[in-house]
Amino acid sequence: MTPPAQDSTAGAKSYLVAETTWSSWLMTSDHKRIGIMFLAATFLAMLLGGVVALILRIEHLTPHHTVVDAMTYNRLFTLHGVIMVWLFMIPAIPAGLGNFLLPLMLGARDVAFPRLNLLSFYVYLLGAGITLSAMLMGGTDTGWTFYTPYSATSPTAVAPVVAGVFVLGISSIMSGINFIVTTHALRPRGMGWFDMPLFVWGIYATSIIQVVATPVLGLSLALVVLDHSFSWGIFDPARGGDPVLFEHLFWFYSHPAVYIMILPAMGVISEVVCTFSRKNPLSYKAIAYSSLGIALVGFLTWGHHLFVAGQSAYASGAFGIISELVAVFSAIKVVTWLGTMYRGSIAFTTPMAYVFIFLFLFVFGGMTGVAQAAMSLDVHWHDTYFIVAHFHFIMVGGTLTGLIAGLHYWLPKITGRLPNERVGLIAAALVLMGFVITFVPQFLLGNAGMPRRYYDYPVRFQALNVISTVGSWLLSSGILLAFGSLLHAAFRGPRAGSNPWGSRSFEWRTASPPITANFERPLDLVPGAYDYSVVNPHD
């Protein structure tokens, strides 16, 4: 209850060394440690999902059997999707970086409910454990979308995989509630909504989606288990059910879920652009409002996944035009980021390199998404590699590059050490090249008509598949190099000062790494988080 100003925290140790026992990590309620544990867990998930992706690509070196059989292939692509979506993408930036940064950016001591935060991490571990052990029991072959009636009749271990995802959803809701309350109630006196750093807006919008959409995912997955295990037939036409309804409920969550993945990455980009351009954002409100706009309008577009599923033409038309509109918000963000660089003082560092990669890939990937809402084109592209390439452009080209940019940017904050610039830039170049070589051929494959989830493909598609596979090797080596260099820097990198990038954002106004209580003095809100036109008294 004592305000930190009178606290005896002066000269306190950083949160990393304040306590060093195992239990001081495992039973911590410190948001910074929980954030790091989330980052570590999601990193392991990404490695696992990445290895699976490499196997999938190698299998496609030849049109027929290469290294695995059809059944294994089908289980592996399901594994890849489930891991990358629920174990990596959804928690990585919000629960990892978001956990670490949100209270720091708000000048708070911790999140609103610290113990709920820790529980969320263990629920995540439990869900991950259930999902992965189910995968060891043979896994399931339904694809990460679990479409009924196939998922209700598949002889594979559908129920435990689905149960694991259900548990992961609970963890996601817990984090969402925590972040919403933190943003609302733990801002210091004098910090209005439009004084918050932009990353907080991204996390806030994400949390809204997590809280409102995830219960519907839980419901639809629970019903798949009931259909599968007890033949309830809520989605089984022979029992009067409707398989298209499953698609409705599933995408009511899973379409907004792509915004859960991309909005925090957009928040990272906003921070990095401003810091390394030493510039105020061209329009703070445009970025803040468009985050909310994406979150809200994004809820009403799910039906564009059902254009060829037998949905009514009226409903399709409505979903189509709403999908076109949601893209306007993303476009506003892109233009605002560009405008932020104008007349700035741009340092071409590794995080900034990832921003350039993000801008290019996100614009291209995003616009191919808008293109699908031009509905006759979706008829040709639906369920082909075009879709695969499109969402990998957003998820890998957007979220993953956003994450790597954020990790480079905040590494000094988290560990107090600087990343290696040269290795970082080489890795960024590898990621860009590998990415383009992997996924551009997949656009062409989709145009040519190669359906997704295809173990065995017509010979005429082989050349492009081989190029894509080679690209995946480049891409993975780039990602490994980036993370390897980050890990090395985290332990052996040169010491950074408290604010190595000269940023004005609030999280840099305390020591790097911060003390357990985050701030020794109440956060000084002057100058503002993006006020680069005045001299910073904190330097």
């Binding site: 599923a309 614009v363 031009a374 997704r452 065995d456 036109s533």
Partner: protein, 365 residues
């Protein structure tokens, strides 16, 4: 120009009446996309060079967006995207609504093969034979899980959802062989669930229909085809035979009797609990909900699956739904049976001149 860009984008040949229009939109959209991404990337790089950090840089001027510029940008982008949607939605509706009088073929999907039933009672497996230059309406049903019917060369695709009647249509522009792929993941051999559309000149098609009337041992042929269709590794299914299953009237009548249809529907024009089947096909029916439509294969199939939503005015709604209990092949043969009852005295042609009766007759036109 069209061909060069199509080649660059890897699009397949344009073998249907809609392909060219859809490709034009495709080219427009992709070129805009590429242009947008390139502009953003280049502007970002130019700024990175032009405004690079110089020694001594500490403060930057505060630049705020002009609200009018922002509004203009939002307006322009909205117009662009909505423009895409307007063109795309028009084409989509065109794809969704088959022309009246299209040649109806019943499609049955199951793990992992396609089978087709033609108006004259002919059937084929994994090979859809159609005449060139005439709209073909596919009335599709699935026996098990969701499948996706996709012909890249035609730019058409539709999911085949079990328990529902899914409809797609196309018109082949020239003779040739075009691949059918399954796009909705449907199990282990999803990727080998392929087939072919064989488009023939009208005269050839008529000959083919005639030839396929020769009685063969259908069951054996079907079995052989099934074996072949489920063998993974075959890059192109080579099923150049047809399975014919005797007299369609006979097969349909047996199925109708087995499912109890004939206890409510008569074959001789007598009104019973349900409408008579004589002369029903091709006639105009008034529905209880006020709609008025022509009883084609799609309507008849929908009736079996959802009798309540398609009840004919003046009859009690006592028919149970056969969704899930009637398999697509039986449904198809019952439809064929009802068709044959209509042709016996051909009231269809009188009732509805726009619905051609000719293709349903066997033999050259």
């Amino acid at each position: 120009m069209n061909d060069t860009l199509r080649g660059l984008l890897g699009l397949p040949e344009q073998a249907s009446s809609v392909a060219r229009d859809i490709d034009m939109l495709h080219l427009f959209v992709i070129l805009t996309t590429l242009l947008g991404a390139a502009c953003v990337g280049l502007v970002a790089l130019w700024f990175a060079v032009r405004f690079r950090r110089r020694p001594g840089d500490q403060l930057t001027p505060r630049v705020q967006a002009n609200p009018w510029w922002e509004a203009g940008l939002i307006g322009a982008l909205t117009c662009l995207f909505v423009g895409w949607w307007v063109i795309g939605y028009r084409q989509y509706l065109h794809l969704q609504v088959p022309p009246i009088g299209a040649y109806e073929i019943l499609v049955s999907a199951k793990q992992w093969m396609w089978s087709f039933a033609y108006p004259g009672g002919q059937r084929s497996l994994s090979m859809l034979v159609v005449p060139v230059g005439r709209p073909i309406k596919l009335v599709m049903m699935s026996r098990d899980v969701i499948h996706g019917f996709f012909v890249p060369a035609f730019r058409i695709k539709h999911d085949v959802v079990p328990g529902y009647v899914s409809v797609a249509w196309f018109q082949a522009e020239y003779a040739g062989t075009f691949q059918i792929l399954c796009t909705q993941y449907c199990g282990t051999s999803h990727s080998t669930m392929r087939g072919e559309v064989v488009a023939l000149a009208p005269a050839d098609f008529a000959l083919w229909l005639q030839g396929s009337r020769q009685p063969t041992r259908a069951a054996e042929a079907e079995e052989a085809a099934e074996r072949q269709a489920t063998t993974p590794g075959g890059d192109r299914l080579d099923i150049s035979h047809l399975a014919i299953d005797g007299d369609p009237i006979d097969r349909g009548r047996r199925a109708a009797a087995r499912h109890g249809c004939l206890s409510c529907h008569t074959e001789d024009g007598q009104r019973h609990i349900g409408p008579t089947w004589r002369g029903l096909y091709g006639s105009r029916v008034e529905l209880a909900d006020g709609r008025s439509l022509i009883a084609d294969a799609e309507y008849l199939t929908r009736c079996m699956m959802d009798p309540l939503g398609n009840a004919v005015a003046g009859y009690q709604t006592v028919m149970p739904s056969y969704r899930g209990t009637l398999d697509p092949d039986d449904a198809a043969s019952i439809v064929e049976f009802i068709k044959c009852l209509a042709m016996a005295d051909a009231p269809a042609a009188v009732a509805n001149p726009s619905l051609p009766t000719q293709p349903y007759r066997v033999g050259p036109p």
